[in-house]
Amino acid sequence: MNHGMALDILLPILIPLAAAALSLICWRSRALQRGISVMATTGLMVAAVVLLVRVYDNGIQVMYTGNWPAPFGIVLVADLLGAIMVVLTGITGLATAIYSLATISKAHEHYGYYPLMHLLLAGVNGAFLTGDIFNLYVWFEVMLVASFALLILGGERAQMEGAIKYVTLNLVSSAMFLSAVGLLYGLAGTLNMADLAEKLAPHQDNPMVQIVAMLFLVAFGIKAGAFPLFFWLPASYHTPRVAVSSLFAGLLTKVGVYALFRVFTLIFPLGDSLIRDLLLGMAGATMLVGVLGAAAQFEFRRILSFHIISQIGYMLMGLALFTPLAIIGGVFYIMHHIIVKSNLFLISGLVYRLQGSYDLKQLGGVYRQHPWVGILFLIPALSLAGLPPLSGFFGKFIVIKAGVEAEFWWLVAVALVVGLLTLYSMIKIWAEVFWKEMPEGSTASVQQRGGTGLMVGTVVALASLTVLIGVAAEPVYQLASATASQLLDPPGYINAVLGDRS
């Protein structure tokens, strides 16, 4: 058994933790905190890319914390899915950090914005890299408290209202998660995911095992914002600073999706099971309800929030179909979606900076005044709607192809209609915010505030990534394909963690 310390797995957790601690030490100095923030997120992104390359070249990487052998201590495991998610966290984190420099008020910076952000990133990365189910719970808690604190930062009435719904419903998820872990420990006597996978493999039909699996589905379904458990998301995402919204939109629900992918490929692989049927239904309903929710909104960020939900449906569809191609599609979709969604929120913030409103009925004429902002919006917006040759098209294409091959016609039909309705929403934003003239008597105003350079820079960088994923879809597909093979090979994971004992 390999007991070596593999520091590169730890770094994506350690860097933001250290950055948070340093920022707390520099509590009084905004300048230092800003510097730390950019350096740490840059470092995080580099460390994440290094880790991904290593996993891609050498297979699954494992670190035994405290050198305690698995399954007795806690292991950190970086497989391709985990490493990809960490890279995406790095990208989103860096984008948020830079965007924050231009948008976060002094008061927020004085009261712990940066340490909170770093701890959120640490929690997210911890969740992606841990190989221990209880440790996963701990990272979920870190994320939950960090995100709650970020949500209420500023203390406006709307924020409080949203944050209370957010935290209450997420605590329900935590309770389910913890109960499931407890029951699971009672059944299998272990918490290590690889060990669990190995021990439960012959007992998948055991009713108690299935009940526990169902509890995980509910707990992670709430986190992922799946139907009918998504209420916390549209209630809260439009209330905080836009950089925070963007970070949440990109990452938080995807941690839930990641957990579903992990648990339902490794510990409870979806066969022709009840859970799979449920997940298929959930995927369809999530897509549809989310996109219809968006069609009823006239607030920039609320529209985007509902679209997070509907897009989660596509990822769940990838998982639920459970063919190799479908998993590839799901992974591809996650990669595409995180970047596009964060970017759309950042653009809503840019529009807010230019005109001082998020209300579609008040905004207008942005394309006339700032054609480049219009183009920058169109790239992620059309990508989200799945128009070629942008990244979203290939995500949708793969998932739908998988659905067609598996002959789930109703789900394919839902996915197609939802694609069209997504376009409807994006075009609504485009027509109202960018094309339409600003209505007379609008409360919005053309603001000539400077300092949009950093904001635009961030948006441009993310938009370029979106284009790149589309144009160079082949390498991204290869990566997703390798990831899917790993996910569909639980013995590979088990052997990497517990050592080859066959």
Binding site: L17, K165, L387
Partner: protein
């Protein structure tokens, strides 16, 4: 080849800048690009009869998506039309929109559109074709909505986009299926595989999906309504997209896939019916319009219907007719649209009734309009005549006589429309127009002159056109070499008779068209109930459903959210128990329960019930405290003293803090009715009962022994601690503890920020 296509996007990207650089003559400069393309495509002409030329570039080989392109008769015909007409359109636009503040942006989108359209007709890979197909949808959306400060332009643009992209999604599914059935996305392989595809069980869904995509794009009934509305676009766009190119993409696709999918009864019935109905409705609406652009747009609908009909019939003659009709239509319709733009530009009139006697002021335009209108009417010796003869002959051979009736009626009305456009604005009494009319500048005239002349030359040299292009195009559509032998004069036959009849009847209709319009006004109410109403209704329904649904799910009340979340969770758990629960056993054995244990349990339950029922805040805190301390005692009893101590500390602190905070608040108000409280109690109880049941099930379901024996054994020798819990917390599972420490830090920062930031806000106020 790749440069020819992607270069177009490059030129598009630079177009705004080039426009600023070259100023007034930017149109001519930018037209150099389509001119280059035209020459490039012309260079394929001499060898086109010798077969297909292919180009490959890998894109996503893992998904079999390649940028592969083919040049055969069909794609070359389209490519020549796109680049040739494109050349004049760009030059035309430069003058037509001269001084428009967004002309630069216009070029960008127009050139991007042109490249996308070329991609559609040249792609050999179905997915690549689809990528370009969608690009034409989105670029045409931007073009239709070019005057985007106008709400109706935005609405029309959305309509066009929604209809075409909606069809596009069906098309994508159809193409995926076709690829699956045919084993490849490459047309080269699929087109040779027609028999296998037609016999496959999935043939019908494939055909329906692909035809849906093609019909929406090519404005076939009942999707025809978006096209006339798309006339909100500036005239060069209407002339280009909505006559010569984009709307023909659907027809192109049908023609292209004819060897793979065509020839079945379903094919013939679908395309024949839709084509004939579209043809008739299109020309009916055209002859009833008075707006020049509207009239031309509806006659385009007629032409698209005719093409679909011919491809549906599918005989060699019909396919030859389709290719000839396509060429003829592109030439005269491009010219006529540009002339409509000239009338608008030079006189300010958009309606036939506001024009008259313009011949004196603009003789060249008038003559060109006349020539183009003759081709539209299908009069000897125009190329339109050749196409019309072939059309009649093909329909005469088809057993469905009602098709013939529709086609002849269509032809009569087409002649009337041609006469209206070719005569009414130019001759007779001059009508006062908004601007003083004068002859159009060369940039505007170049296109119509060249296209109309080609329409005439095409007729005169029909065999030449046939040998050098149309025979190859027809062969590509038929899938086998065909030699249609096009000629201007087919001898005296039934088709000629029909042609003459339509000419005379059409002129009579023109003579009395005012009366006709009045007499048929009743169809307007019918048209208002047409498919466009359906579209509007769908859009309205979408918003209504969305709002109702969102009010229901996202009500804004936390209690409903909680209720749905909890009830969903519990029902899912019970679903598993119900379906798979054989072998579960409630491990409920009360014989060993001791008295003090029972007392504790009752205290616990009493505490919980009191906390829920009391109307005093302090009472609730006290009751919760009782619950907490009882739990601590339970820990102690089950030999976990350290947990018990922790619990006591936490409870003490919580109670003290809560009392401090709540002391100042008034008592609870009872706001909810008894019924609601009962409902809430049921929800709460269901969760409690379920969780209890799960625990009792679990007691009996142990599969493996815990790994904790290792922790017990290794605690001292490896962890150097006698207190095993300590060793676990700070060593074996130290990472958990680290995480929890940060959770505490986070909570502290959060509380601090919340209190202090609010306090500062108040101070500012």
């Amino acid at each position: 080849m790749l440069y020819a296509l992607l270069g177009g996007f490059g030129v598009a990207a630079l177009a705004a800048w080039l426009h600023r650089l070259t100023g007034r003559h930017s149109g001519w400069i930018l037209a150099l690009w389509p001119a280059t393309l035209l020459l490039y495509f012309l260079s394929f002409l001499p060898d086109i009869n010798s077969g297909t030329v292919l180009f490959f570039y890998d894109w996503i080989p893992s998904l079999q998506i390649r940028l592969s392109f083919r040049i055969d008769g069909l794609s070359l015909l389209f490519a020549l039309l796109i680049s040739g007409i494109g050349l004049f359109i760009v030059a035309y636009a430069g003058r037509y929109l001269e001084g428009h503040r967004d002309l630069g942006r216009f070029y960008v989108i127009l050139l991007a559109f042109m490249s996308s359209m070329l991609g559609v007709v040249l792609a050999d890979n179905l997915i690549a074709l689809f990528v370009f197909w969608e690009l034409t949808s989105i670029t045409s959306y931007l073009l239709i909505g070019f005057n985007h400060e106008d709400a109706s332009a935005r609405r029309s643009a959305l309509q066009g986009l929604f209809v075409t992209v909606g069809g596009g999604l069906a098309l994508m599914t159809g193409l995926i299926l076709l690829g699956q059935v045919g084993g490849s996305y490459e047309l080269t392989e699929l087109l040779d595989n027609g028999d296998a595809i037609r016999q496959h069980a999935l043939y019908t869904p494939i055909l329906l999906l692909i035809v849906l995509g093609a019909f929406t794009k090519s404005a076939q009934f009942p999707f025809h309504f978006w096209l006339p509305n798309a006339m909100a676009a500036p005239t060069p766009v209407s002339a280009y997209l909505h006559s010569a190119t984009m709307v023909k993409a659907g027809v192109y696709l049908l023609a292209r896939l004819h060897p793979a999918l065509g020839g079945t009864e379903l094919w013939s019935a679908l395309l024949g019916t839709a084509g004939a109905v579209t043809l008739f409705i299109g020309i009916w609406l055209a002859v009833r319009s008075t707006g020049i652009k509207k009239m031309l747009a509806y006659s385009t609908v007629m032409a698209l219907g005719t093409l679909t009909l011919l491809i549906g019939i599918g005989s060699e003659q019909a396919l030859a007719a389709a290719m000839a009709f396509l060429l003829a239509h592109s030439l005269y319709k491009g010219a006529l649209f540009m002339i409509a733009g000239i009338i608008d530009h030079e006189t300010g009139s958009k309606d036939l009734r506001d024009t008259g006697g313009l011949f004196r002021a603009m003789p060249v335009t008038a003559v060109v309009a006349g020539v183009a209108a003759l081709s539209l009417a299908g009069v000897l010796p125009m190329f339109g005549f050749v196409a019309k003869e072939l059309l009649f002959e093909s329909v005469l051979d088809d057993p469905r006589t009602w098709l013939l009736a529709m086609v002849v009626a269509g032809a009569v009305m087409t002649v009337a429309v041609a006469a209206l456009i070719g005569i009414l604005p130019w001759y007779g009494q001059p009508v006062a127009t908004k601007k003083i009319p004068h002859e159009a500048p060369p940039a505007l005239l170049a296109g119509p002159v060249v296209l109309a002349t080609l329409g005439l030359l095409g007729g005169l040299f029909a065999p030449w056109v046939d040998q050098h292009l149309l025979a190859a195009a027809t062969s590509a559509v038929a899938g086998t070499p065909v030699n249609p032998d096009l000629a201007l004069w087919h001898g005296i036959n039934p088709a000629l008779g029909l042609s003459l009849f339509s000419l005379i009847a059409g002129l009579l209709l023109y003579r009395w068209h005012d009366g006709f319009r009045t007499a048929t006004a009743f169809t307007d109410t019918l048209a208002k109930r047409g498919p466009e109403r359906g579209y509007d209704w769908l859009m309205a329904a979408l918003v209504r459903i969305a709002e109702t649904q969102t009010r229901f799910f996202q009500s804004g009340y936390l209690r409903y959210y909680l209720m749905i979340t909890l009830l969903t969770s519990m029902s899912l758990v019970w679903l598993v128990i119900g379906m798979k629960g054989d072998g579960l056993r409630l491990h409920l054995d009360l014989r060993d329960v001791q008295f003090h244990e029972a007392v504790l349990i009752f205290t616990l339950m009493a505490g919980a019930i009191t906390a829920a029922r009391t109307t005093s805040r302090l009472g609730a805190v006290a009751a919760l405290g009782a619950v907490g301390f009882t739990v601590a005692l339970l820990y102690v009893m089950f030999s976990a003293p350290d947990l018990g101590i922790t619990q006591v500390l936490v409870e003490t602190l919580t109670v003290i803090l809560l009392v401090l905070v709540l002391f100042r608040l008034p008592g609870f108000l009872k706001l909810s009715s008894t019924a609601l409280r009962v409902r809430d109690a049921i929800v709460a109880a269901s969760v409690g009962v379920t969780m209890t049941a799960l625990v009792l099930f679990a007691l009996d379901a142990r599969l493996y022994d815990s790994i904790s024996h290792w922790h017990i054994a290794e605690s001292l020798p490896s962890g150097y601690g006698r207190n095993m819990v300590n060793v676990i917390l700070v060593d074996f599972r130290a990472l958990d503890t680290l995480g929890e420490i940060f959770v505490l830090a986070l909570a502290a920062i959060g509380v601090l920020a919340m209190i202090r930031l609010r306090a500062e806000d108040k101070r500012h106020e």
